[in-house]
Symmetry: C2
Subunit: 404 residues, 2 copies
């Protein structure tokens, strides 16, 4: 057994920078129902093909009038107008008014010809054929103008915008039932290691269940990516090569594990043969042996096999890469201040991601070891400890990044 030492550990910022420089936003588009497009990224400009609203409409229940007819109306000196009819919302009518006339209108009703304002029903008193107007209105009062929301020809949504519920509303207001969005990036997740057993199968002596495929795919799926899970990669060169080449059908490939030096070496040999390793070994804890390279134009991550190392490194390296590829904004962690519950000794020279639980304003370290998934699952978030810090005193204030 020969070991290949890490030639040089690089700072985490450099590693993130290298990854970032290799990631291109996705260009593939797909057409999906508008109702399924929430929080997807719009893949074209939307130019309004008609005015919204399409016509002048009443903004209130009341009486459509010629504003001038109401001037001088008062509580004790109403203006009296003749009611010429009623227009319901959605109704088409060619009723029109002249001076001294009005039409009763519902909210949303098309304004009758010649009318230019609406007196709200609360400021009126209707008789049989006439109505008393107790308050004057100015022209355009209580009227929504055609195009007042969106003007025909206006570019109302732009290529690359995130479709939140309000923007879905814009698409709906234009009657657009299907919409082009950018495809989700496909992340191929390949577990490695002879000790790994797929979940749902009986666990044999000496084996452990595959955790990383499921934590990473959960992270991918909840952040706008598509996770494709693959079978466990064989530990012979040709098998590993075949598995990795097959996974090139994705936009990003992520290997987890290769926990023994021999397996790791095989993966490195494969990547070196069909691609290029850009870094291997980062000044980070947990997750030092993280690897990144390119096979053609496809980025490939080699994550440590330990569940906590793998998941935290997926948060640190994969997540920003995938979100950039998906054209999604960076994930912003909610940050809260807390006081650390006990003295904590960190590792000088490595940026540490310390998982903590937050209780009563205290940040309680829950990190057991990199191999324990409970180091993450029992935590509410993490503290990022600079590589230059080696001690946090009990009670010191720390900034906790919450997972959600």
């Amino acid at each position: 057994m020969k070991t290949r030492p890490f030639e040089r550990l690089i700072p985490i910022e450099d590693a993130i920078g290298i990854v970032e420089s290799k990631i291109k936003p996705i260009d593939r588009r797909e057409k999906i129902p508008t109702d399924l497009a929430v929080y997807r990224i719009l893949a074209r400009d939307i130019e309004a093909h008609f005015d919204v609203p399409p016509f002048n409409r009443s903004a209130m229940d009341g009486y459509a009038v010629i504003a001038e007819d109401t001037f001088g109306a008062g509580q004790f000196d109403p203006k009296v107008l003749r009611i010429k009819g009623y227009v319901h919302a959605g109704e088409v009518t060619d009723v029109e008014i002249d001076r001294g006339e009005c039409v009763e209108v519902a909210t949303g009703a098309r304004m009758p010809k010649n009318s230019d304002a609406v007196v709200v029903v609360e400021s009126t008193e209707g008789e049989k054929d006439t109505v008393n107007i107790f308050e004057p209105v100015h022209p355009k009062e209580n009227v929504s103008n055609a195009g007042g929301d969106i003007k025909e020809g206006e570019v109302i949504l732009k290529d690359g915008e995130l479709l939140d519920p309000g923007k879905i509303g814009v698409l709906a207001s234009l009657g657009i039932g299907e919409i082009e969005v950018y495809e989700k990036p496909k992340i191929g997740i390949l577990p490695t290691g002879d000790e790994v057993c797929p979940i749902g199968m009986p666990l044999k002596e000496g084996k452990v269940y595959d955790v990383n495929s499921h934590t990473v795919s959960a992270l991918v799926r909840s952040n706008g990516g598509k996770a494709n899970l693959y079978e466990i990669v064989g530990d012979r060169f040709e098998d590993a090569k075949r598995s990795i080449e097959k996974a090139l059908e994705n936009d990003i490939i992520l290997l987890s594990g290769g926990s023994s030096v021999g397996e790791r070496d095989i993966l490195i040999d494969v990547i070196n043969e069909i691609g290029e390793i850009l870094f291997h070994g980062v000044q980070i804890k947990p997750g030092l042996p993280t690897l990144f390279g390119m096979i053609g134009d496809k980025p490939i991550f080699g994550m440590p096999g330990y569940p906590t190392s793998c998941l935290i490194n997926a948060y640190v390296f994969l997540l920003p890469a995938m979100r950039k590829m998906a054209r999604l904004p960076r994930k912003e962690y909610t940050r809260i201040k807390a006081n650390i519950s006990r003295r904590f000794v960190s590792t000088l020279g490595r940026t540490q991601f310390l998982t903590v639980k937050v209780q009563d304003g205290k940040a309680i370290p829950v990190f057991k070891e990199s191999g324990a998934i409970t180091s993450v699952s029992n935590s509410d978030g993490f503290i990022e400890i600079d590589y230059s810090v080696n001690l946090i005193e009990k009670g010191e204030e720390v900034l906790v990044n919450l997972w959600q």
Copy 2:
């Protein structure tokens, strides 16, 4: 046409309190693949049915030893141990060691019988059949104990927990491929109003497209609910009653619109006949005419028909109700401070939700009118203005709740 005035507008806090008091967390469970369970709510306690890891394993690549054999080892005074074999990760072997012996082990490999520590490969120099140990280890050093992550019998996840990627990892580590979660609450969304046209259909004279079904369903779907969209409710009593009764197959019913007084009256009559109205009219802007009631044990919201009123009220009233029903934590808005770009006059006596765009530290009001969807779609978030405030001076600091 008769109008029914609002008898009493209630404060927004009272309205939220009434809704809250009527919402019960969902009890229905469903079994789904663990891989699809991210951010769902676990519907039973998970008791570990075996230790994780299931056996003592090496935490590093190196040599499994009897720790005592290494005591006193030093850089210039190595201890020499006889190599008895190699254990690969995942391998089953009954190799055992005696004093003076060791076994080469990969990370994750099962510890050979009698060994109690691992010397990392970097602190050794292997010969053909022997290895020089340059650093002593204490017992248990570099060993992950059986059950060190999760102990057999331990309740490791509890009923009601939110399954984030780390907790998905716990399920995977126990080999659980399918998991019981609480069902998503079903929200039945019913547009009303003769002026409303379904999207994807040609728009007739006097009509506008249905916006609310799509904004509300987008909000529902992106917050852990299931949105069921219904056809436009007829404006005759019997039709409206039939539509609402059909929608009782959901957990919450949401009517949008009924923008004319006549339609609104019909909806009120229907709810009063088959259920009970708990409030109608809230001191909120936009969205004053919001209605809430119960039909049997099913909450029903009547939202204003105007797109901005409807969507903002869905954020204010529906969202907390639905998330409570779904057993999800309250939505916490990211809040940022900004200075308002211009003097803003609010409405005394109504809590106002003012939509704003945030640019260069400035909060720019973008609210046009309640009927304009662009009042929301052009905004990054909203300012909540207390009912007792009627003026915000230009440049005053405000707290913006970001939509995302």
